[in-house]
């Protein structure tokens, strides 16, 4: 099946700004699904609110555009009630880690099999450029006109600490790596978290004087390194990319199947 067969052409062109990184993530995702040869009938995409959340409308899967921050909670209900479905949950940084932070850590703790993709553009784009929990100290935003005094979460550290059994990071510059990591996240039997640094030239790049989309992509190229790279030792501020955690632990839906067997004996 060709990539174009996985989208709803009727709903294009998409509503993201010129230069936005989210389209690159959509591309990476579709290629991952194509490479894995997944059946559209088995695919569910659940998103929350924000620029990122619009991605669910564009894919020809069962798709649910829900409320702000709660995509993982809806997805948990879908996965638990029909575990054979392949559930992908793309979220923005504010969506996943501010309003949805609690659901994020609890989904990770349960190790329920689904793929959480944090489309991290470090800003609330749809509402016009307010700082997010991933903007970082000193960043500029419309609600941080004097520079942000909030410190950022490290999505990878947070996901690992919360119990996610697959945790990875990449950027929209590294398109092949992006598609490969999404594939790995989808096939992983447990809760997978993939953070993708995604440029928002309209709000983050402009307000923080990073430049346009190309400048931001160059920044992702120059300021990130593969995990374990020697460059990181020389320059600790470089951001690592790759798979941080990949482990096999009991998955929630399968655990519940065992629980049903136990309850059946009690009956």
């Amino acid at each position: 099946m060709a990539v174009k067969d996985y989208i709803r052409e009727r709903f294009f062109p998409y509503m993201w700004c010129a230069g936005c990184g989210h389209g690159i993530i959509l591309n990476g995702l579709l290629r991952a699904v194509e490479n894995l040869g997944l059946n559209k009938k088995d695919m569910v995409m659940v998103s929350g609110i924000g620029c990122s959340a619009r991605i669910s409308g564009y894919v020809d899967f069962h798709s649910m555009h829900t409320i702000h921050g709660r995509a993982l909670a809806f997805a948990t209900g879908i996965k638990m009630s029909k575990p054979e479905l392949n559930v992908i949950v793309p979220m923005g940084d504010g969506d996943a880690l501010a309003i949805g932070g609690n659901h994020f850590i609890h989904a990770a703790r349960r190790n329920i099999e689904m793929t959480a993709i944090v489309m991290n553009n470090q800003i609330y784009g749809m509402t016009g450029g307010q700082f997010s929990p991933l903007s970082g100290y000193g960043a500029m935003g419309t609600t941080a006109p004097y520079g942000n005094i909030d410190h950022a979460f490290d999505v990878v550290d947070l996901a690992v600490a919360a119990g996610a059994t697959f945790v990875a990071r990449t950027t929209t510059y590294h398109v092949h790596e992006l598609s490969d990591l999404i594939q790995q996240a989808i096939v992983h039997k447990g809760f997978s978290v993939l953070e993708v640094l995604s440029q928002c030239p309209t709000h983050f790049g402009r307000r923080n004087k990073i430049g346009d989309a190309v400048d931001m992509l160059k920044m992702y190229k120059n300021r990130t390194v593969r995990i374990g790279s020697d460059k990181k030792k020389a320059d600790p501020d470089l951001i690592e990319r790759g798979v941080f955690v990949k482990k096999d632990l009991p998955e929630y839906c399968r655990e519940y199947d065992q629980l049903i067997l136990k309850a059946g004996q009690k009956k």
Binding site: S56, G57, A73, G77, M80, S81, A263, G264
Partner: protein, 382 residues
């Protein structure tokens, strides 16, 4: 002895009835005084291959059951005031996306943390107006265990018939009260199955194109038809739209599908209403005291009657207007500042003849409390 007769809490009756109705998925969060429902679900659902989820809060509980409903299951959550407040946004989502689900609110005293272990009926207006934006919604209640069973099953039936969230509004008193329940034989109460689309695979299915009767056949997530679900105003494909015609059509559909069927949705009980000179209108735990007073005074020849409401929303205005016409005056009995009283006054021809008998101190309103109010109204002194 018939083993179908049990002596259990109202909350447990709700569980029995939900399972009778075909519940397969429950998600919830502990909160007094509804927790027993979650506890029993955790015990019972896995026995029949169903799923119970304890979520991280009430918000995610409602979100999870909405998701599970989309895969084709009958779903429910249970909570109380503070949890119900947290659920409002997801409740609006279920209204907008027309996803069947049942939400039990076992009322306690409010606002805020209020009186967790005491009775109150202060959430009547919240069930109707808690969410933002225009909409209509179905809210049912009951005063005794047999009726809790019936109304719980009806809640699932209405949710499927009208593709809407239905709120079952119980209260601490009936939820924790133990009394006899005769569990109906399987098949003795009609169950409404989910209406699924007959559109075959490969042919366009429009998830939000109502049939002539206003109903929208569903397709389960995981089946052949793939479609979009969104809380934004949406077209027949389920895709976001701000086209004024589509926006107008959808809001009218959401409101009309319930308001135009309010006579079908109205559930109530009449006790000695026919020749009543004084009418009581009540619901939930308060109706138990109202009924006690009516039966008691009837024995002394006083012509008291009771209209017990079981459907609170859409408010059964026609029925209320009709029964209030022939009586000297009407007293609304409830445990709040007069939330149903307001609706009754709006419904009747002579609102000046509608009075309130209430208690707002966390204690159950007693027959004596109601009688004292009647005496004041009748000029007999306290």
């Amino acid at each position: 002895m018939n083993k179908k007769i049990k002596f259990i809490q109202g909350n447990d009756v709700c569980v029995e009835a939900a399972l009778y109705a075909g519940l397969e998925f429950f998600a919830g969060y502990p909160i007094t005084p509804s927790t027993e429902i979650a506890e029993q679900m955790a015990n019972r659902l896995p026995m029949i291959g169903g799923k119970f989820l304890q979520m991280e809060d009430e918000i995610s509980s409602l979100c999870a059951i909405i998701g599970a409903s989309l895969t084709g299951h009958k779903v429910m959550t249970a909570t109380s005031g503070p949890g119900f407040s947290l659920m409002q946004e997801a409740l609006g989502y279920a209204v907008m996306t027309e996803i069947p689900c049942v939400i039990v609110n076992v009322m306690r005293g409010g606002p805020s943390t209020g009186l967790p272990t005491h009775a109150g009926q202060g959430d009547v207006n919240q069930t109707r107006y808690g969410i933002h934006g225009d909409h209509s919604i179905i809210v049912l209640t009951a005063s005794n265990h047999q009726d809790i069973f019936q109304m719980t099953v009806e809640a699932f039936n209405f949710a499927e018939t009208y593709r809407t969230p239905v709120i079952l509004l119980l209260d601490e008193m009936t939820g924790h009260l133990r009394e006899k329940i005769d569990i109906p034989e399987s098949g003795s109460i009609r169950l409404v199955k989910r209406l699924r689309t007959a559109v075959k695979s490969g042919i366009d299915y429009h998830p939000y194109l109502p049939r002539e009767d206003g109903r929208l056949p569903m397709s389960d997530f995981g089946d052949e038809h793939r479609y979009n679900v969104t809380g934004l105003y949406h077209d027949m494909w389920g895709f976001p739209s701000d086209n004024p015609k589509i926006v107008y059509g959808l809001i009218r559909h959401l409101v009309d599908k319930i308001e135009n069927n309010s006579h079908q949705i109205a559930r109530f009980r009449k006790y000695h209403v026919k020749d009543a000179e004084v009418l009581l209108i009540s619901y939930g735990a308060s109706a138990r005291s109202a009924l006690h007073l009516v039966e008691n005074r009837r024995r002394r020849g006083e012509k008291l009657g009771l209209l017990e409401l079981q459907t609170l929303w859409p408010f059964p205005s026609d029925i209320v207007r009709e029964v209030c016409k022939e009586v000297k005056f009407t007293v609304v009995v409830e445990m709040n500042m007069g939330q149903v009283l307001q609706q009754v006054r709006l419904a009747v021809d002579a609102p000046e003849k509608i009075f309130l008998a209430n208690r707002i101190d966390g204690e159950l309103i007693t027959p004596t409390d109601i009688r004292n109010i009647l005496r004041v109204i009748q000029g007999k002194g306290v």
